[in-house]
């Protein structure tokens, strides 16, 4: 590349192409970030597959996929509770069973929920706890520091343990809450995957930004790794303005998991 800031995507930064790795990206009415999530999959070297929430035969739709992403947005306008109505979409039951069910002890299909997708995973009880309104009651949009607390999940294995990353955060219902026993359990089992650093932007218990199920194949987080995958369009970084690509690791991680690479 001759320029520091490419005007279009610099695909040369993508990892090795893992042909055949197919990652579904689900679109609900009101989803916003499905295209960004699909692009992140592509940049990481996988093949994104668009899925519609009302897919009548979810099991068949998922059978040809290696992972699924529930992207961010405002499904059903956040009516009732964020993610609450989307959680009952026809495709969700198929995703819940493909992910290994609600007890989460046996690993199934890798599933990632980002922001509204994380809210859906908690509403579906695939992940414990819930999100309530930010403690300051305002919508917040900022580049947020995170620490990767668990780099053994299907979605974080490309990071080094304790890696500090910066990705955008944008939400109004981002305050993670759960009872003390659940929080202790999450901490004890290493299921706190991402923690806010520098500043807790929403009052989340124990600075929790993302968690996983017991098996580590289902991960949900409020910040948006898919908005930090391409130089020129990410957060500011040490390499220059908008050069941050710290989120790409989430997507290369799952491709490595699919390829069966051992850590």
């Amino acid at each position: 590349m001759s320029t520091e800031l490419p005007l279009i995507g610099d695909f040369s930064t993508a990892g090795p192409v893992l042909t055949g790795a197919r990652v579904g990206v689900v679109t609900f009415p009101g989803t916003l970030d499905d295209r960004d999530a699909a692009r992140a999959v592509r940049l990481a070297g996988g093949e994104p597959v668009a899925l519609w929430h009302a897919e009548p035969d979810g099991g068949a739709a998922l059978s040809s996929l290696d992972a699924v992403i529930l992207p961010g947005g405002f499904s059903y306008g956040d009516y009732l509770r964020a993610g609450a109505i989307a959680r009952f979409a026809p495709l969700m039951e198929a995703i819940i069973s493909a992910a290994g069910g609600r007890d989460g002890s046996s690993a199934g299909l890798p599933v990632l929920g980002i922001c509204n997708g994380f809210q859906m995973l908690t509403e579906a009880h695939l992940l414990p706890g819930s999100m309530i309104k930010n403690d300051h009651l305002k919508f917040i949009c900022r580049d947020q520091g995170l620490r990767v607390e668990n780099n053994a999940t299907a979605w974080t294995r490309a990071y080094s343990a304790g890696a500090e990353i910066v990705v955008p955060l944008k939400n109004q219902d981002g305050q993670y809450v759960a009872d003390e026993r659940t929080l202790d359990e999450l901490e004890g089992e290493g299921r706190v995957v991402f923690r806010y650093t520098g500043w807790n932007p929403n009052g989340s218990r124990r600075d929790i930004a993302g968690i996983s199920n017991a098996a580590g194949n289902v991960v949900g987080l409020m910040p948006h790794p898919e908005h930090a995958v391409e130089a020129g369009f990410g957060p500011d970084s040490g390499h220059g303005m908008r050069m941050g690509t710290d989120g790409l690791g989430v997507f290369t991680s799952v491709l490595a998991s699919i390829a069966g690479e051992t850590k």
Binding site: L80, R81, A84, I85, F88, T122, E123, P128, G129, S130, I132, K133, N134, D135, H136, L137, Q175, V177, A178, D179, G203
Partner: protein
């Protein structure tokens, strides 16, 4: 048509940021003497037909499954709303006066 009311409140142990903000605004308007505010939700389910025990049971089920999230909320009330009585004569006259 008869109506079933479902009331949902945030669990006592969950901090209610909206209620807290309202509690902060009350004294600014001179409404003192209220120690705390908690904000919940009220749903009105209009029933197509008669409210039988079965319909009420369905409403309770819907309240637990969809209208509330058991992790952060409690269903505190499910009841049949008394049918609105016809407007009293006096009131109608008053409006016309």
């Amino acid at each position: 048509m008869p109506t079933i009311v479902v009331d949902v409140m945030p669990k006592p142990e969950i901090l209610d940021p909206q209620g807290k903000a309202i509690a902060g605004a009350l004294p600014r308007l001179g409404f003192t003497g209220f120690a705390a505010v908690r904000q919940g939700k009220r749903f009105e389910l209009t029933v197509d037909g008669e409210v039988t025990e079965e319909v009420l049971a369905h409403a309770r089920e819907a309240a637990e499954q969809l209208l509330s999230n058991p992790v952060i909320e409690d269903v505190v009330n499910v009841e049949v709303l008394p049918e609105a009585a016809p407007a009293p004569e006096a009131l109608v006259e008053g409006r016309n006066a």
